[in-house]
Point group: C2
Chain length 249, copies 2
Protein backbone atom coordinates (compact mmCIF):
# COMPACT_ATOMS: atom_id res chain seq x y z
CA UNK A 1 0.00 0.00 0.00
CA UNK A 2 1.26 3.42 -0.89
CA UNK A 3 2.36 5.62 1.94
CA UNK A 4 -0.51 7.86 2.95
CA UNK A 5 0.37 11.15 4.51
CA UNK A 6 -1.00 11.75 8.01
CA UNK A 7 -4.06 13.94 7.80
CA UNK A 8 -3.72 17.41 9.24
CA UNK A 9 -5.46 17.84 12.56
CA UNK A 10 -7.08 21.06 11.42
CA UNK A 11 -9.57 21.16 8.59
CA UNK A 12 -7.88 23.68 6.44
CA UNK A 13 -6.86 24.51 2.93
CA UNK A 14 -3.33 23.45 2.10
CA UNK A 15 -1.33 22.92 -1.07
CA UNK A 16 -0.94 19.22 -1.52
CA UNK A 17 2.12 18.26 0.48
CA UNK A 18 2.60 15.44 -1.97
CA UNK A 19 2.45 16.44 -5.61
CA UNK A 20 -0.22 15.24 -8.01
CA UNK A 21 2.38 12.77 -9.28
CA UNK A 22 1.65 10.33 -6.49
CA UNK A 23 -2.09 11.08 -6.15
CA UNK A 24 -3.96 7.79 -5.76
CA UNK A 25 -7.04 9.29 -7.37
CA UNK A 26 -5.26 10.44 -10.52
CA UNK A 27 -5.63 7.19 -12.48
CA UNK A 28 -9.41 7.47 -11.93
CA UNK A 29 -9.74 11.16 -12.67
CA UNK A 30 -9.48 13.68 -15.48
CA UNK A 31 -6.10 14.63 -14.08
CA UNK A 32 -4.53 11.65 -15.82
CA UNK A 33 -4.90 13.60 -19.08
CA UNK A 34 -1.98 15.73 -17.90
CA UNK A 35 1.50 14.46 -18.76
CA UNK A 36 3.73 13.53 -15.87
CA UNK A 37 6.15 16.40 -16.49
CA UNK A 38 3.28 18.92 -16.50
CA UNK A 39 1.88 17.82 -13.18
CA UNK A 40 3.74 20.60 -11.35
CA UNK A 41 1.47 23.04 -13.10
CA UNK A 42 -1.60 21.10 -12.00
CA UNK A 43 -0.36 20.78 -8.44
CA UNK A 44 0.20 24.53 -8.29
CA UNK A 45 -3.50 25.10 -8.97
CA UNK A 46 -4.95 22.45 -6.72
CA UNK A 47 -5.84 23.15 -3.13
CA UNK A 48 -6.28 19.97 -1.16
CA UNK A 49 -9.01 20.06 1.46
CA UNK A 50 -10.32 17.80 4.18
CA UNK A 51 -14.07 17.57 4.52
CA UNK A 52 -15.67 16.12 7.65
CA UNK A 53 -18.45 13.58 7.28
CA UNK A 54 -21.81 15.31 7.14
CA UNK A 55 -20.39 18.58 5.95
CA UNK A 56 -22.03 20.27 2.94
CA UNK A 57 -19.21 21.60 0.78
CA UNK A 58 -21.28 22.61 -2.23
CA UNK A 59 -24.48 24.54 -1.62
CA UNK A 60 -27.10 24.47 -4.40
CA UNK A 61 -27.56 27.97 -5.77
CA UNK A 62 -24.28 29.36 -4.43
CA UNK A 63 -21.93 31.10 -6.88
CA UNK A 64 -19.98 28.39 -8.68
CA UNK A 65 -16.46 29.59 -8.00
CA UNK A 66 -14.66 26.27 -7.91
CA UNK A 67 -14.30 22.90 -9.51
CA UNK A 68 -13.62 19.96 -7.24
CA UNK A 69 -11.96 16.64 -7.69
CA UNK A 70 -12.65 13.94 -5.13
CA UNK A 71 -9.49 12.15 -4.01
CA UNK A 72 -10.88 10.14 -1.09
CA UNK A 73 -14.22 9.39 0.54
CA UNK A 74 -17.75 9.68 -0.85
CA UNK A 75 -20.23 12.52 -1.23
CA UNK A 76 -23.88 12.63 -2.10
CA UNK A 77 -25.06 15.11 -4.73
CA UNK A 78 -28.61 16.38 -4.39
CA UNK A 79 -31.29 18.81 -5.37
CA UNK A 80 -33.97 20.12 -3.02
CA UNK A 81 -37.54 21.33 -3.34
CA UNK A 82 -38.67 24.23 -1.13
CA UNK A 83 -40.59 21.94 1.25
CA UNK A 84 -37.56 19.74 1.83
CA UNK A 85 -38.20 16.95 -0.64
CA UNK A 86 -34.82 15.80 -1.85
CA UNK A 87 -33.50 13.98 -4.89
CA UNK A 88 -30.01 12.56 -4.73
CA UNK A 89 -28.70 12.73 -8.28
CA UNK A 90 -25.55 10.73 -7.68
CA UNK A 91 -22.70 9.76 -5.43
CA UNK A 92 -19.20 11.11 -5.96
CA UNK A 93 -16.17 9.08 -4.97
CA UNK A 94 -12.48 8.93 -5.78
CA UNK A 95 -11.77 10.47 -9.16
CA UNK A 96 -15.13 12.18 -9.62
CA UNK A 97 -15.04 15.71 -10.93
CA UNK A 98 -17.66 18.16 -9.61
CA UNK A 99 -18.86 21.58 -10.68
CA UNK A 100 -18.81 21.30 -14.45
CA UNK A 101 -21.82 23.59 -14.80
CA UNK A 102 -21.62 26.44 -17.27
CA UNK A 103 -23.99 28.40 -15.09
CA UNK A 104 -22.69 30.86 -12.53
CA UNK A 105 -24.31 28.96 -9.67
CA UNK A 106 -24.15 25.34 -8.57
CA UNK A 107 -27.12 23.33 -9.80
CA UNK A 108 -26.82 20.84 -6.94
CA UNK A 109 -25.50 20.50 -3.41
CA UNK A 110 -22.82 18.09 -2.21
CA UNK A 111 -22.43 16.64 1.26
CA UNK A 112 -19.72 14.30 2.53
CA UNK A 113 -20.94 10.85 3.57
CA UNK A 114 -17.58 9.97 5.02
CA UNK A 115 -14.47 11.98 5.80
CA UNK A 116 -13.26 13.18 2.41
CA UNK A 117 -10.32 14.71 0.69
CA UNK A 118 -10.98 16.90 -2.30
CA UNK A 119 -8.91 19.08 -4.58
CA UNK A 120 -10.31 22.52 -5.25
CA UNK A 121 -9.57 24.49 -8.42
CA UNK A 122 -10.66 28.05 -9.04
CA UNK A 123 -12.77 28.15 -12.19
CA UNK A 124 -10.75 30.87 -14.00
CA UNK A 125 -7.50 29.08 -13.21
CA UNK A 126 -8.84 25.78 -14.40
CA UNK A 127 -10.12 27.51 -17.52
CA UNK A 128 -6.54 28.58 -18.27
CA UNK A 129 -5.29 25.09 -17.63
CA UNK A 130 -7.85 23.61 -20.01
CA UNK A 131 -6.85 26.11 -22.69
CA UNK A 132 -3.25 24.93 -22.37
CA UNK A 133 -4.06 21.24 -22.18
CA UNK A 134 -6.75 20.29 -24.71
CA UNK A 135 -6.28 16.66 -23.72
CA UNK A 136 -7.81 17.46 -20.36
CA UNK A 137 -10.75 19.17 -22.00
CA UNK A 138 -11.24 16.04 -24.10
CA UNK A 139 -11.19 13.88 -20.99
CA UNK A 140 -13.70 16.19 -19.38
CA UNK A 141 -16.00 15.80 -22.36
CA UNK A 142 -15.67 12.03 -22.12
CA UNK A 143 -16.50 12.12 -18.44
CA UNK A 144 -19.48 14.39 -19.06
CA UNK A 145 -20.71 12.10 -21.83
CA UNK A 146 -20.52 9.10 -19.56
CA UNK A 147 -22.38 10.94 -16.82
CA UNK A 148 -25.05 11.84 -19.33
CA UNK A 149 -25.51 8.19 -20.19
CA UNK A 150 -25.72 7.35 -16.49
CA UNK A 151 -28.24 10.14 -15.98
CA UNK A 152 -30.46 8.74 -18.74
CA UNK A 153 -30.26 5.31 -17.17
CA UNK A 154 -31.32 6.86 -13.85
CA UNK A 155 -34.26 8.60 -15.55
CA UNK A 156 -35.40 5.21 -16.81
CA UNK A 157 -35.13 3.88 -13.27
CA UNK A 158 -37.00 6.79 -11.69
CA UNK A 159 -39.68 7.04 -14.33
CA UNK A 160 -40.44 3.44 -15.14
CA UNK A 161 -39.01 0.88 -12.71
CA UNK A 162 -40.79 -0.64 -9.71
CA UNK A 163 -39.40 -0.38 -6.18
CA UNK A 164 -37.95 -3.90 -6.41
CA UNK A 165 -36.34 -3.14 -9.75
CA UNK A 166 -34.87 0.09 -8.41
CA UNK A 167 -33.26 -1.60 -5.42
CA UNK A 168 -31.97 -4.44 -7.59
CA UNK A 169 -30.48 -1.92 -10.05
CA UNK A 170 -28.87 -0.06 -7.18
CA UNK A 171 -27.29 -3.16 -5.65
CA UNK A 172 -26.05 -4.53 -8.96
CA UNK A 173 -24.54 -1.17 -9.91
CA UNK A 174 -22.85 -0.88 -6.52
CA UNK A 175 -21.57 -4.42 -6.72
CA UNK A 176 -20.25 -3.82 -10.21
CA UNK A 177 -18.38 -0.79 -8.96
CA UNK A 178 -18.70 0.54 -12.48
CA UNK A 179 -21.61 2.89 -12.23
CA UNK A 180 -22.56 5.38 -9.57
CA UNK A 181 -19.21 7.07 -9.92
CA UNK A 182 -17.50 4.18 -8.25
CA UNK A 183 -14.13 3.57 -9.87
CA UNK A 184 -13.63 0.16 -11.41
CA UNK A 185 -12.15 -2.18 -8.85
CA UNK A 186 -11.51 -5.44 -10.59
CA UNK A 187 -14.16 -8.10 -10.72
CA UNK A 188 -17.57 -7.48 -9.20
CA UNK A 189 -17.64 -7.97 -5.46
CA UNK A 190 -20.15 -10.13 -3.67
CA UNK A 191 -19.94 -7.76 -0.74
CA UNK A 192 -21.52 -4.34 -1.23
CA UNK A 193 -20.60 -1.60 1.21
CA UNK A 194 -23.16 1.16 1.66
CA UNK A 195 -21.65 4.36 3.02
CA UNK A 196 -25.04 6.05 2.73
CA UNK A 197 -28.10 5.76 4.97
CA UNK A 198 -31.44 4.23 4.02
CA UNK A 199 -32.71 7.77 3.71
CA UNK A 200 -30.02 8.54 1.14
CA UNK A 201 -30.81 5.39 -0.80
CA UNK A 202 -34.50 6.32 -0.76
CA UNK A 203 -33.79 9.84 -2.00
CA UNK A 204 -31.55 8.41 -4.72
CA UNK A 205 -34.16 5.91 -5.92
CA UNK A 206 -37.22 8.12 -5.55
CA UNK A 207 -38.69 5.99 -2.74
CA UNK A 208 -39.26 6.27 1.02
CA UNK A 209 -37.02 4.86 3.74
CA UNK A 210 -39.70 2.35 4.63
CA UNK A 211 -40.02 1.00 1.10
CA UNK A 212 -36.23 0.63 0.86
CA UNK A 213 -36.11 -1.24 4.15
CA UNK A 214 -39.08 -3.49 3.34
CA UNK A 215 -37.75 -4.31 -0.12
CA UNK A 216 -34.31 -5.24 1.20
CA UNK A 217 -35.90 -7.39 3.90
CA UNK A 218 -37.93 -9.12 1.22
CA UNK A 219 -34.82 -9.70 -0.94
CA UNK A 220 -33.26 -11.28 2.11
CA UNK A 221 -36.23 -13.58 2.73
CA UNK A 222 -36.06 -14.53 -0.95
CA UNK A 223 -32.38 -15.49 -0.54
CA UNK A 224 -31.26 -12.86 -3.05
CA UNK A 225 -29.09 -11.09 -0.50
CA UNK A 226 -27.84 -11.19 3.09
CA UNK A 227 -27.72 -8.18 5.36
CA UNK A 228 -24.93 -8.75 7.91
CA UNK A 229 -25.22 -5.14 8.99
CA UNK A 230 -27.20 -2.15 7.81
CA UNK A 231 -24.23 -0.79 5.88
CA UNK A 232 -23.20 -4.04 4.29
CA UNK A 233 -25.01 -6.32 1.88
CA UNK A 234 -23.98 -9.65 0.42
CA UNK A 235 -25.17 -10.59 -3.03
CA UNK A 236 -26.38 -14.20 -2.97
CA UNK A 237 -28.16 -14.43 -6.30
CA UNK A 238 -26.63 -11.97 -8.68
CA UNK A 239 -28.42 -13.40 -11.69
CA UNK A 240 -31.84 -12.87 -10.18
CA UNK A 241 -30.94 -9.34 -9.13
CA UNK A 242 -29.63 -8.53 -12.59
CA UNK A 243 -32.80 -9.89 -14.12
CA UNK A 244 -34.88 -7.68 -11.85
CA UNK A 245 -32.63 -4.69 -12.53
CA UNK A 246 -33.05 -4.95 -16.29
CA UNK A 247 -36.81 -5.23 -15.94
CA UNK A 248 -37.30 -8.84 -16.96
CA UNK A 249 -40.36 -10.41 -15.44
Amino acid sequence: MTHVRARPVVVEAVRPAEPCAICEARPFSVCNAIDLHDLERLAALAVNLTVDAGRTFIEEGDPAESFFNVTAGTAKLFKLLPDGRRQITGFASMGTFLGLAVSSTYAFGAEALEPMRICRFSRPKLRELLDDFPAMEKRLLEVASNELVAAQEQMLLLGRKTARERLASFLVARAGCLCNNVPACGRPAEKVMLPMTRSDIADYLGLTIETVSRTLTRFKSERLIDIPSASEILIRDRGALEGLATGLR
Copy 2:
Protein backbone atom coordinates in the same frame (compact mmCIF):
# COMPACT_ATOMS: atom_id res chain seq x y z
CA MET B 1 -42.76 -7.07 -26.88
CA THR B 2 -41.42 -7.28 -30.38
CA HIS B 3 -38.23 -5.50 -31.01
CA VAL B 4 -38.82 -3.28 -34.01
CA ARG B 5 -35.72 -2.82 -36.01
CA ALA B 6 -35.18 0.63 -37.45
CA ARG B 7 -35.64 0.75 -41.13
CA PRO B 8 -32.73 2.39 -42.88
CA VAL B 9 -33.11 6.11 -42.87
CA VAL B 10 -34.60 7.11 -46.17
CA VAL B 11 -31.54 8.54 -47.64
CA GLU B 12 -31.70 11.31 -49.97
CA ALA B 13 -28.31 11.44 -48.34
CA VAL B 14 -26.98 14.55 -49.97
CA ARG B 15 -24.34 17.09 -49.23
CA PRO B 16 -26.13 20.15 -48.02
CA ALA B 17 -27.33 21.97 -51.10
CA GLU B 18 -26.80 25.14 -49.16
CA PRO B 19 -23.55 25.33 -47.24
CA CYS B 20 -23.39 25.47 -43.45
CA ALA B 21 -22.89 29.21 -43.82
CA ILE B 22 -26.58 29.81 -44.25
CA CYS B 23 -27.81 27.00 -41.96
CA GLU B 24 -30.67 28.29 -39.83
CA ALA B 25 -29.78 25.89 -37.05
CA ARG B 26 -26.17 26.98 -36.79
CA PRO B 27 -26.74 29.84 -34.32
CA PHE B 28 -28.38 27.33 -31.98
CA SER B 29 -25.86 24.53 -32.41
CA VAL B 30 -22.26 23.63 -31.66
CA CYS B 31 -21.47 24.41 -35.29
CA ASN B 32 -21.32 28.12 -34.46
CA ALA B 33 -17.98 27.41 -32.79
CA ILE B 34 -16.50 27.12 -36.29
CA ASP B 35 -15.34 30.33 -37.91
CA LEU B 36 -17.14 31.45 -41.03
CA HIS B 37 -14.15 30.83 -43.27
CA ASP B 38 -13.77 27.27 -41.96
CA LEU B 39 -17.35 26.30 -42.63
CA GLU B 40 -16.38 24.70 -45.95
CA ARG B 41 -14.56 22.07 -43.97
CA LEU B 42 -17.61 21.45 -41.80
CA ALA B 43 -19.93 21.32 -44.80
CA ALA B 44 -17.67 18.73 -46.43
CA LEU B 45 -18.24 16.38 -43.50
CA ALA B 46 -21.95 16.90 -43.00
CA VAL B 47 -24.50 14.76 -44.76
CA ASN B 48 -27.93 16.30 -44.67
CA LEU B 49 -30.80 13.84 -44.33
CA THR B 50 -34.57 13.97 -44.34
CA VAL B 51 -36.33 11.87 -41.71
CA ASP B 52 -40.04 11.12 -41.99
CA ALA B 53 -42.28 11.60 -38.99
CA GLY B 54 -42.43 8.41 -36.94
CA ARG B 55 -39.16 7.03 -38.22
CA THR B 56 -36.60 5.76 -35.71
CA PHE B 57 -33.22 7.04 -36.88
CA ILE B 58 -31.20 6.01 -33.84
CA GLU B 59 -31.73 2.54 -32.42
CA GLU B 60 -30.67 1.96 -28.82
CA GLY B 61 -27.84 -0.55 -28.72
CA ASP B 62 -26.83 -0.15 -32.36
CA PRO B 63 -23.17 0.63 -33.14
CA ALA B 64 -22.69 4.35 -32.63
CA GLU B 65 -21.20 5.24 -35.99
CA SER B 66 -22.51 8.75 -36.36
CA PHE B 67 -23.13 12.02 -34.61
CA PHE B 68 -26.23 13.94 -35.59
CA ASN B 69 -27.18 17.57 -35.52
CA VAL B 70 -30.86 18.44 -35.75
CA THR B 71 -31.51 21.25 -38.20
CA ALA B 72 -35.32 21.10 -38.37
CA GLY B 73 -38.18 19.25 -36.68
CA THR B 74 -38.32 17.46 -33.35
CA ALA B 75 -37.33 14.00 -32.16
CA LYS B 76 -38.01 12.08 -28.99
CA LEU B 77 -35.09 10.34 -27.28
CA PHE B 78 -35.93 7.25 -25.28
CA LYS B 79 -34.80 4.16 -23.47
CA LEU B 80 -36.76 0.91 -23.35
CA LEU B 81 -37.16 -1.96 -20.91
CA PRO B 82 -37.54 -5.49 -22.32
CA ASP B 83 -41.30 -5.55 -21.67
CA GLY B 84 -41.86 -2.33 -23.57
CA ARG B 85 -41.91 0.17 -20.74
CA ARG B 86 -40.42 3.35 -22.13
CA GLN B 87 -38.75 6.42 -20.67
CA ILE B 88 -38.38 9.45 -22.89
CA THR B 89 -35.20 11.16 -21.73
CA GLY B 90 -35.63 14.32 -23.78
CA PHE B 91 -36.77 15.98 -26.95
CA ALA B 92 -34.30 17.11 -29.58
CA SER B 93 -35.07 20.08 -31.81
CA MET B 94 -33.19 22.54 -33.96
CA GLY B 95 -29.57 22.82 -32.88
CA THR B 96 -29.51 19.73 -30.67
CA PHE B 97 -26.50 17.50 -31.01
CA LEU B 98 -27.02 13.73 -30.64
CA GLY B 99 -24.73 10.79 -30.15
CA LEU B 100 -22.11 12.18 -27.82
CA ALA B 101 -21.64 8.83 -26.10
CA VAL B 102 -18.12 7.53 -25.59
CA SER B 103 -19.48 4.01 -25.80
CA SER B 104 -19.45 2.11 -29.06
CA THR B 105 -23.23 1.75 -29.04
CA TYR B 106 -26.06 4.25 -28.72
CA ALA B 107 -27.42 4.47 -25.19
CA PHE B 108 -30.82 5.65 -26.39
CA GLY B 109 -33.11 5.59 -29.39
CA ALA B 110 -34.38 8.57 -31.35
CA GLU B 111 -37.61 8.84 -33.31
CA ALA B 112 -38.87 11.77 -35.35
CA LEU B 113 -42.07 13.39 -34.05
CA GLU B 114 -42.37 15.54 -37.14
CA PRO B 115 -40.63 15.54 -40.50
CA MET B 116 -37.02 16.36 -39.68
CA ARG B 117 -33.81 17.40 -41.26
CA ILE B 118 -30.60 16.27 -39.61
CA CYS B 119 -26.91 16.51 -40.40
CA ARG B 120 -24.97 13.30 -40.01
CA PHE B 121 -21.25 13.19 -39.22
CA SER B 122 -19.16 10.04 -39.11
CA ARG B 123 -17.58 9.74 -35.69
CA PRO B 124 -13.96 9.38 -36.88
CA LYS B 125 -14.36 12.36 -39.20
CA LEU B 126 -15.87 14.47 -36.48
CA ARG B 127 -13.09 13.37 -34.16
CA GLU B 128 -10.60 14.84 -36.65
CA LEU B 129 -12.60 18.01 -36.89
CA LEU B 130 -12.66 18.39 -33.11
CA ASP B 131 -8.91 17.89 -32.98
CA ASP B 132 -8.48 20.75 -35.42
CA PHE B 133 -11.05 23.04 -33.82
CA PRO B 134 -10.72 22.98 -30.03
CA ALA B 135 -13.35 25.72 -29.88
CA MET B 136 -15.91 23.22 -31.05
CA GLU B 137 -14.83 20.73 -28.43
CA LYS B 138 -15.27 23.45 -25.83
CA ARG B 139 -18.76 24.18 -27.10
CA LEU B 140 -19.55 20.49 -26.96
CA LEU B 141 -18.45 20.39 -23.33
CA GLU B 142 -20.66 23.38 -22.58
CA VAL B 143 -23.61 21.70 -24.25
CA ALA B 144 -22.96 18.45 -22.39
CA SER B 145 -22.70 20.35 -19.09
CA ASN B 146 -26.02 22.04 -19.70
CA GLU B 147 -27.65 18.75 -20.57
CA LEU B 148 -26.28 17.29 -17.38
CA VAL B 149 -27.93 20.07 -15.40
CA ALA B 150 -31.20 19.47 -17.25
CA ALA B 151 -30.90 15.74 -16.56
CA GLN B 152 -30.51 16.38 -12.84
CA GLU B 153 -33.56 18.62 -12.89
CA GLN B 154 -35.48 15.83 -14.61
CA MET B 155 -34.34 13.33 -11.96
CA LEU B 156 -35.77 15.65 -9.32
CA LEU B 157 -39.03 15.72 -11.27
CA LEU B 158 -39.20 11.95 -11.77
CA GLY B 159 -38.11 11.05 -8.27
CA ARG B 160 -39.90 13.58 -6.13
CA LYS B 161 -42.59 15.61 -7.86
CA THR B 162 -46.32 14.83 -7.93
CA ALA B 163 -48.24 14.34 -11.18
CA ARG B 164 -49.55 17.92 -11.01
CA GLU B 165 -46.07 19.29 -10.40
CA ARG B 166 -44.66 17.27 -13.28
CA LEU B 167 -47.23 18.55 -15.75
CA ALA B 168 -46.80 22.11 -14.51
CA SER B 169 -43.00 21.82 -14.87
CA PHE B 170 -43.43 20.44 -18.37
CA LEU B 171 -45.76 23.22 -19.51
CA VAL B 172 -43.66 25.99 -17.98
CA ALA B 173 -40.49 24.60 -19.54
CA ARG B 174 -42.18 24.30 -22.93
CA ALA B 175 -43.62 27.78 -22.66
CA GLY B 176 -40.25 29.17 -21.67
CA CYS B 177 -38.74 27.58 -24.75
CA LEU B 178 -35.51 27.48 -22.82
CA CYS B 179 -35.39 23.95 -21.59
CA ASN B 180 -36.26 20.67 -23.30
CA ASN B 181 -33.77 21.46 -26.01
CA VAL B 182 -36.04 24.10 -27.38
CA PRO B 183 -33.97 27.00 -28.65
CA ALA B 184 -34.63 30.34 -27.03
CA CYS B 185 -37.30 32.17 -28.95
CA GLY B 186 -37.71 35.55 -27.35
CA ARG B 187 -40.15 36.08 -24.53
CA PRO B 188 -42.11 33.16 -23.14
CA ALA B 189 -45.16 32.33 -25.20
CA GLU B 190 -48.64 31.96 -23.83
CA LYS B 191 -49.31 29.37 -26.48
CA VAL B 192 -47.56 26.04 -26.07
CA MET B 193 -47.40 23.74 -29.06
CA LEU B 194 -47.09 20.03 -28.30
CA PRO B 195 -45.66 18.06 -31.22
CA MET B 196 -45.74 14.91 -29.07
CA THR B 197 -48.69 12.69 -28.12
CA ARG B 198 -50.11 12.23 -24.61
CA SER B 199 -48.30 8.93 -24.58
CA ASP B 200 -44.99 10.68 -25.22
CA ILE B 201 -45.68 13.22 -22.50
CA ALA B 202 -46.54 10.39 -20.11
CA ASP B 203 -43.34 8.52 -20.95
CA TYR B 204 -41.35 11.71 -20.50
CA LEU B 205 -42.86 12.50 -17.10
CA GLY B 206 -42.98 8.95 -15.75
CA LEU B 207 -46.80 8.85 -15.72
CA THR B 208 -49.60 7.15 -17.68
CA ILE B 209 -51.57 8.65 -20.54
CA GLU B 210 -54.65 8.74 -18.35
CA THR B 211 -52.96 10.67 -15.56
CA VAL B 212 -51.62 13.20 -18.06
CA SER B 213 -55.05 13.66 -19.58
CA ARG B 214 -56.83 13.92 -16.23
CA THR B 215 -54.29 16.37 -14.84
CA LEU B 216 -54.54 18.64 -17.88
CA THR B 217 -58.33 18.52 -17.70
CA ARG B 218 -58.13 19.51 -14.06
CA PHE B 219 -55.74 22.40 -14.86
CA LYS B 220 -58.31 23.54 -17.36
CA SER B 221 -61.16 23.40 -14.87
CA GLU B 222 -58.98 25.37 -12.47
CA ARG B 223 -58.46 28.06 -15.12
CA LEU B 224 -54.70 27.48 -15.22
CA ILE B 225 -54.76 26.59 -18.90
CA ASP B 226 -56.97 26.28 -21.96
CA ILE B 227 -56.86 23.34 -24.36
CA PRO B 228 -58.02 24.57 -27.77
CA SER B 229 -56.83 21.33 -29.31
CA ALA B 230 -54.95 18.29 -28.07
CA SER B 231 -51.69 19.58 -29.48
CA GLU B 232 -52.03 23.13 -28.28
CA ILE B 233 -52.24 24.57 -24.78
CA LEU B 234 -52.74 28.15 -23.65
CA ILE B 235 -51.19 29.24 -20.40
CA ARG B 236 -53.74 31.26 -18.45
CA ASP B 237 -52.11 31.47 -15.03
CA ARG B 238 -48.40 31.21 -15.47
CA GLY B 239 -47.68 32.22 -11.87
CA ALA B 240 -49.73 29.39 -10.45
CA LEU B 241 -48.13 26.88 -12.82
CA GLU B 242 -44.65 28.09 -11.93
CA GLY B 243 -45.46 27.79 -8.25
CA LEU B 244 -46.62 24.22 -8.79
CA ALA B 245 -43.58 23.45 -10.93
CA THR B 246 -41.13 24.56 -8.27
CA GLY B 247 -42.93 22.52 -5.64
CA LEU B 248 -44.43 25.31 -3.56
CA ARG B 249 -47.57 24.30 -1.75
